[in-house]
Amino acid sequence: MTFPPIFFELFVLALGILILLLETFFEKRDRKMFAVVGIVGLAVVFLFLQASGPGASGMASYVVDPPAIFFKKLSVLTTIVVLIMSIDYADTIKRFLPADSPQAGLGEFFALPVLTCAGMMWMSSAIDFILIFVSLELVTISFYVLVAYMRRNASSLEAGVKYLILSALATGFTVYGITWIYGVTRQTNLVQISQVLPSISVDNQPGVLFGALLVLIGLGFKIAAAPFQFWVPDVYQGAPTPITAFLSVGSKSVGFIVLLRVVQAFQSLPAVGDKLITAVILLAVATLLYGNLAALPQTNFKRLLAYSSIGHAGYLLMAVAGISAKDSGQAVVVYLAAYLLMTLLSFLVLVIVSNHGGGDEIVQFNGLSKRSPFLAFALLVAMMSLAGVPLTAGFLGKFMVFKVALETRQFLLIALAIITVGCGFYFYLKVVRAMYWQPAPANVAAIPVSKLSLAAIIIMVLLIFVLGIFPQVALGLLPG
């Protein structure tokens, strides 16, 4: 059974609208059921995506190549886990919404991530600046709402405003860059641009480079690369935790597929392509240093994960900078797959623990190994993987990034990365220390875990080990 490739996005879009309608027609029902509808629907999409292969799309601005399919699967999986988290988080959401009915507002909270997912899936396939821009905005505008969702919580509102203003600014950079590129090449399609570039006159090269750098700035904002990272800590800390997870995994991943496609397109003209690579290297240097060093003193777990997400963007940029190596794209894909698992796992455990402790501070995790050995072990695995301990998925990602960087002789980046990996061990193990070394506060009960979350945690822990021990599974994510 074959579908036109765009069917998947349309189906997800319809699913999001369906959840909105369900809210209207089944007002009395438990809203958490709507999330389950979303999860089931997305799971079906995932299965069909799994069965589908690359092929012609029949559209110039839209491709169905292996990376596109991979990133679509990644978006769908992320959304599923985010919905699972949202169910656990629903009680916290309710506290910060005007209470005209017990469950008001929850339906939209479950519908919006599904709509965002559709945007991410489009973005995965987009090879035309216009489509890239439109899908990027679909994603970003949904996030404006989601980040500020807890209306009565000042920090959520603050995060929303910050995200809105800075994101709009970044969008401005992107659009301005696109116009420059269009002005020189008369094209918005990346394939066409790549073909036209070698024939442009030398006088026009600075113009293209300027445009490309502006686009890089806009994308740097999306993937949280330093020095465009300043929105990350506050927004991550203020947003509802499932949305933070969504931002740090979903938004970042699709930012990287676009970045890869754009950087690749400009390689056809070395005069511009090489300078673009240099810019990416500089971004990587700043991002590695900033993310990992600033994470060292953090005491809030959500903020720690925010800085860690900046740090991981640095490793990913290292792989992008090595785009001339054969495995570069694969390194990005493997790293992101690992990043998805370990970050979502951390956030899921965070949501469950903070529901029963009342905060996101690392102190809340004190003695977790005694209160809930299972959750502590799951978070231990996530932290090991984030730090890059072998036989976990995170190590394989780092391994491939280092391999690509060595192949393309990025010695400065490698020397820096050695130091930042050491930093990473410190701040990730800080969480482990809290869980295992510190005594539990008195009179705290064991933490109940819902069946759905339990299943999600077990699956993610297993996947982290499977990817780490059998690298061929991870490499199979991006065939060819």
Binding site: V389, F395, L406, Y426
Partner: protein
């Protein structure tokens, strides 16, 4: 037979997981350790020394385009180290004290450390060789942090951060090694890499930098001066089983890596960096040796001494001839047994007296005749008195160093450092005998009247370790016959 090789690392690994899931901790751990020891012994004895080379190979291809597979097998060197690992692992499981809280976690961590070491020695693929060793990092962090003594938190941080940075340097070196040959020849398979070495695939321009990274990475893991500062504090603070495993076995991974990967593949680079290694190892012997004399506590003395003795092994490696490398390999085995025995007994002392400070102790031989006797034997072994394996191996190391001479040219750098190392034996004698006198001889303070001799379980375990030292010391051929053919393959 290859199944037995898998059992050596799999049985502690599986038992560790089982214990975490709720199996009875102590019994399961002991059974797993016995199975591993039995398998390691059969593998060691069953290894065909006449035909040498890698034996009992079994592989599971994973990534064909990288030529990455899970390849397991042994040669004489790894069979010896696997035997050492399982002996020390059994001893440390046996000696593990009664744990009030989280007993399952305690035993699981010990088993994971043992499995990590065994897996690294059994792997013949760069990826898993590296990965298994790192597997032991997190359990060590947890063990020292939760069940350690003294300044445990800072010790745990220090060892973890130090070793993680050392490992990542090593990782970059190993990836560099993988990338050295032409793309069609690249492989993670150590057996194939060693065959490739003879075609000159690793003598290109990058080989010197790659060897430097490997030396730095492996060196940090073995506490090569000046990257040794993680070791003393960690060994003094860690629970006894962890110290036994780490100082006795896990630390040998770096040396094993040099012998298995760095030297055979890049002999020219190894020779060109020998001067650096010589300077650093002289630091191990002289600087750390003097620092050892300054220690006022038994656990710190032992911890520093274990750093110092690495200098001799490095000397054997730097000499790069059959006799020196033989000595290095034998000393890895001997040091593993002797330091494990010493730490086991110091753990018993601490349990009874709480303090290990020399000023507080004294005259304990009256209460602990057996312990003081066995401790004396282990002390002699550690100094390197004839009859113990340490003597045989240090002798070979010195011969190896002196053999690197240019006829008629006077003393060269090898002989200078060899002479320093000879003085190191005197340094060892000073601090070990001083420790012995301070603890077991002289006036006994009244408060130690209730101190009892060591329990039978500890007695048997330590006797086993010392007996191993004696057997190999009197008949060094038991180990050398297994190790030497492998060394002769790459040293011409």
């Amino acid at each position: 037979m290859s199944l037995l090789v898998h059992l050596i690392y799999l049985s502690p690994l599986v038992a560790g997981v089982g214990i975490l899931l709720g199996l009875p901790a102590r019994r399961t751990a002991a059974i797993a350790a016995v199975i591993a020891l039995a398998s390691a012994l059969i593998v060691f004895l069953g290894y065909d020394r006449a035909s040498s080379g890698y034996q009992f190979l079994s592989s599971l291809p994973l990534v064909t385009e990288w030529d990455l597979k899970f390849l397991v097998g042994v040669d004489g060197l790894s069979a010896t180290l696997l035997l050492l690992t399982s002996i020390v692992a059994l001893a440390s499981v046996w000696l593990a004290p009664k744990v009030q809280e989280g007993e399952n976690g305690y035993y699981a961590c010990i088993l994971f450390i043992a499995a990590g070491a065994a897996g690294a020695f059994a792997s013949l693929d760069l990826f898993f060789f590296y990965a298994f060793h790192e597997l032991a990092l997190i359990p060590t962090f947890l063990m020292i942090g939760i069940w350690g003594s003294g300044n445990r938190q800072s010790a745990a941080w220090k060892i973890t951060i130090y070793l993680s940075i050392g490992s990542i340097v090593l990782l970059v070196g190993l990836i560099g090694l993988y990338l050295l040959p032409s793309p069609a020849q690249r492989t993670f398979d150590i057996v194939k890499l060693q065959q490739l070495a003879s075609t000159g695939a690793f003598s290109g321009p990058g080989s010197r930098s790659v060897y430097f990274l490997l030396l730095l990475g492996f060196g940090t893991l073995v506490s090569l001066f000046p990257f040794h500062t993680w070791a003393p504090q960690a060994y003094a603070s860690a629970p006894v089983p962890v110290t036994m495993l780490h100082a006795g076995v896990l630390k040998k991974f770096g040396l094993y890596g040099l012998l298995r990967v760095a030297l055979p593949l890049m002999p020219a680079a190894a020779r060109s960096w020998a001067w650096l290694l010589l300077i650093l190892l002289a630091g191990n012997i002289l600087y750390v040796g003097l620092a050892t004399i300054a220690q006022k506590q038994l656990d710190l003395t032992l911890a520093y001494s274990s750093v110092m003795h690495m200098g001799y092994i490095f000397l054997g490696i730097a000499s790069y001839n059959v006799i020196g490398l033989n000595g290095a390999a034998l000393l890895m085995f001997a040091h593993g047994l002797s330091i494990a025995a010493l730490f086991a007994m110091s753990g018993e002392l601490r349990k009874q007296t709480v303090t290990l400070n020399y000023l507080d102790l004294g005259g304990l031989a009256t209460n602990m005749p057996t312990l003081s006797f066995v401790f004396g034997l282990a002390t002699f072994a550690s100094i390197g008195l004839p009859g113990f394996a340490n003597f045989a191996s240090e002798l070979l190391v010195f011969f190896g160093a002196f053999k690197n001479s240019t006829p008629g040219a006077g003393f060269n750098e090898f002989q200078v450092v060899g002479t320093i190392a000879l003085w190191g034996v005197v340094i060892s004698a000073v601090y070990m005998l001083r420790a012995y006198r301070a603890i077991f001889m002289g006036e006994r303070q009244a408060r130690w009247q209730m101190v009892k001799d060591m329990p039978l379980s500890l007695g048997w375990t330590v006797m086993l370790l010392v007996a191993g030292l004696l057997i190999v010391g009197l008949v060094p051929r038991t180990v050398l016959d297994a190790v030497e053919p492998g060394i002769r393959l790459f040293v011409k």
